[in-house]
Symmetry: C2
Subunit: 140 residues, 2 copies
DNA sequence: TTGTAAAGTAGTAATCGTTATTATTTTTGA
DNA sequence: TCAAAAATAATAACGATTACTACTTTACAA
């Protein structure tokens, strides 16, 4: 039985809380479907639409971000801190990568050079994730 | 009447050539629908499926790249040179941005630090494009 | 508690960008 | 001119996401 938050001022729906927790307790950068399947056993009457609706709500509230559509499915991240991602060409996993993001000063520089107002940057690497790279090294 | 390429060894289909030219002669980073509408007057029996099929083929051949799904539509770029993009929050335009991409040496550094094999990077900025920024400045 | 209005959800239908299918047309190379 | 290969048009199918409606849960005060 999941606990309610201390004072139910926000996220007063149990399912909403469960969705946010599922998102925060994984580094899989899951799809809506993934979250749905993860929670379905504990919430048998959970609806996929509810997952989508709440994921959208979390984004508006700044509690989650979308990584965009990868392989036909939109992927979400409950970690809103500044970091980049790598999509593994071998296994399709999306993993966190620290580094490679342009510094705020760089965004300013690009703004001046381009005439645009650059507000944020998202960086996505392509390559082989650590797990697959290790399997290759092992001769797997 | 569009000219054929000098020796029809590749791209021997007129429509294929027209699609590739349309993609190369714009900096709009168009969707399949955009290309379709652009060419329909000159090729009244052009089919949207043909545009999709050829855009996919150009990617495989390295003649074009996909910028991914932006606002629900996949966008393509006939310019395969190394550059980044900015998506305008105001008007939705996608514009080229030079700078902000991690250097090859940076990719190597991240590879070592992360244990991944980083092969390429794609950078997408969010902000206001030059045109919209100018309109703001003009008090429009 | 009990009532009630607001918020949230389940279940399902609808939407829409993209892909697959198949008969037909175009291109190619002889 | 001919036949095989490639490409296409038109349409159907697909699938992720969104919209809709009746029902349920929540919050909050009497």
């Amino acid at each position: 039985m999941p606990e309610r938050s201390p004072k139910g001022r926000e996220n007063f729906s149990r399912k909403r809380e469960a969705i946010l927790n599922a998102l925060r307790n994984t580094d899989a950068h899951p799809t809506a479907e993934w979250v749905y399947r993860r929670l379905k056993p504990e919430y048998p009457d959970l609806s996929l639409g509810t997952v989508y609706r709440n994921l959208g709500r979390f984004q508006e509230a700044g509690q989650a971000v979308s990584l965009g559509v990868i392989g036909g499915h939109e992927r979400f991240d409950g970690d809103t801190s500044r970091h980049a991602h790598l999509v593994c060409e071998r296994c399709g996993a999306v993993v966190d990568v620290y580094g490679g993001l342009p510094e705020p000063g760089e965004l300013e520089r690009i703004s001046r050079l381009s005439g645009c107002i650059v507000q944020s940057a998202s960086v996505t690497f392509r390559g082989i994730c650590g797990k697959c790279a290790k399997e290759d090294g092992d001769g797997a």
